[in-house]
């Protein structure tokens, strides 16, 4: 894979989810990413193009960052398919192509969802929260506060953005190259990274950050402690109540937003009693 080809795949991969639909998911996106490569590969054999287009327009769904592993592996396998000397070899290579498209997309989706959506995204949110707190912007306080400088506002956003995208774009770029060069034995390059260890360590950092944030939030309320302050007591009760109730709703798989809307309704009823 040349640098230009890799760059082409990389840039087009940002459009993988354009045309996402409930019938074949990312099929249009996959075809959009692969088309320039396929056009070049079959330039001398235009008769093969309709069947190639049909294959790439079939169902495809994976995590957008990790999808680069599928693109590289599919491109490599497509070259083998194009070079098949007879029908038996073609069928063999086609079976392999099919298993890559199905199997690899499921594996990469599982890793990507756990790493990027389940761990890295909340970790970068907590990182931004800590930066804002260090810059004396208290996000827990709902009473009016002085306006922070513009640079302070965007510093945390930029930090979260850079932290998330550095890893995501690195995996996207490297994934294309290593999945193109690695074979099935190396799981198309997936084994070059220790995903489970990365996720485990990221979760460990996330756990420390979230506990730290909860402790900071509690300290923020406790520092103004006054036993006779009714508002303080009410706030403390509400905070503890919601931390406990949130664990219950998590177990019942009730999304947070319904808990919030319900609490707004209940508080209104209580206030009118």
């Amino acid at each position: 894979m040349t640098f230009t080809q890799q760059l082409g795949f990389f840039l087009r991969s940002f459009f993988l989810q354009t045309g996402w639909n409930y019938l074949k998911y990312q099929n249009l996106g996959l075809f959009f990413v692969m088309w320039p490569f396929l056009k070049r590969l079959y330039a001398t054999d235009p008769d093969a193009i309709p069947s190639v287009v049909t294959r790439y327009l079939s169902t495809f769904n994976t995590q957008p960052v990790m999808a680069s592993f599928c693109f590289g592996a599919l491109a490599r396998q497509e070259e083998f398919l194009a070079q098949a000397q007879n029908m038996a070899q073609f069928n063999e290579e086609f079976a392999e192509w099919n298993s890559i498209k199905r199997g690899l997309s499921i594996t990469t989706a599982s890793i990507g969802d756990r790493l990027f959506w389940g761990t890295l995204k909340p970790c970068t949110l907590l990182l931004a929260l800590f930066i804002w707190i260090l810059l004396k912007i208290n996000v827990f306080e709902i009473t009016p506060q002085p306006q922070p400088p513009l640079a302070y506002t965007f510093l945390a956003c930029i930090a979260a953005f850079v932290a998330f995208n550095t890893l995501a774009l690195f995996v996207k770029w490297r994934g294309l190259r290593i999945s193109y060069t690695a074979d099935e034995q190396a799981c198309f390059g997936l084994t070059q990274f220790d995903w489970n260890r990365t996720i485990y360590n990221a979760k460990k950092i996330g756990l420390v950050l979230v506990v730290g944030m909860i402790l900071f939030g509690m300290y923020n309320y406790l520092k103004a402690f006054n036993a006779t302050d009714l508002q303080f007591i009410t706030r403390a009760i509400i905070v503890l109540f919601f931390i406990c109730i949130s664990f219950v709703t998590q177990r019942l798989r009730i999304p947070n937003m319904y808990l919030y809307l319900l609490s707004a309704m209940i508080f209104n009823i209580v206030c009118y009693l």
Partner: protein, 201 residues
């Protein structure tokens, strides 16, 4: 309808494309979208708060498989749009969450419509593979337009309701909404704890 509202809806519709359709570079996160929208009003604290609260509230729903989380961009845009119009954040945030929920249904409908059009597009692509570029362009512009119209109508409608409702909102109701709003980061942080539970393989 002010120029600020039109600008807000345009910006939000552009950022919303990042959620699913193009890039996924996290411009559409509440954390980033909130402060960007605050550029229109200059109220940075409200922008940061809307962004952080949105992200914490929606932290328990991830886009796994076909799951469609509520849009953080819509929630921030509606909340800050109403706040720019003079509504208190604790009230406008409720509208923001409702808007994000409603937008999920609109998005689901768009995806169903797209699935119905898929056969026609595939035929055209089969005949002329380069037609895929036109399909992608139509998809992007269609999504932008639907999001823009939804945001404009919803924010404008909610603003009109709040204009009529605000004089009738009692102090008690305002307190109740403030307490619920105050609980949002705690609901979010508590839900992140199980997300980070450690399981060694």
């Amino acid at each position: 309808m002010t120029i600020e509202l039109l600008l807000l809806c345009t910006l939000a519709a552009l950022l919303e494309l990042d959620t699913t359709y193009v890039f996924q570079l996290t411009f559409s996160r509440g954390l980033i979208a909130g402060p960007i929208f605050a550029c229109l009003s200059g109220d940075w604290v409200a922008g940061i708060q809307a962004g952080v609260f949105t992200e914490l509230l929606f932290a328990d729903v991830n886009p796994l498989g076909t799951i469609l989380p509520p849009s953080a961009v819509v929630c921030c845009a509606v909340s800050l749009g109403l706040h720019m119009g003079g509504t208190e954040m604790c009230l406008s945030f409720i509208w923001g969450v409702l808007g994000a929920l409603l937008f999920s249904f609109v998005e689901q409908h768009m995806r169903r419509v797209r699935a119905n059009l898929l056969g026609m597009w595939e035929n055209k692509i089969m005949q002329r593979p380069s037609y895929i570029k036109r399909v992608m362009l139509m998809e992007l512009s269609g999504s932008f337009l639907v999001t823009f119209v939804f945001l404009l109508l919803f924010t404008w409608g909610a603003g009109q309701i709040m204009l009529w409702l605000q004089p009738h909102i009692s102090v008690r109701a305002l307190f109740a909404c403030r307490f619920a709003y105050m609980a949002v980061p705690w609901i979010g942080l508590a839900s992140l704890l199980p997300e980070f539970r450690l399981k060694r393989r």
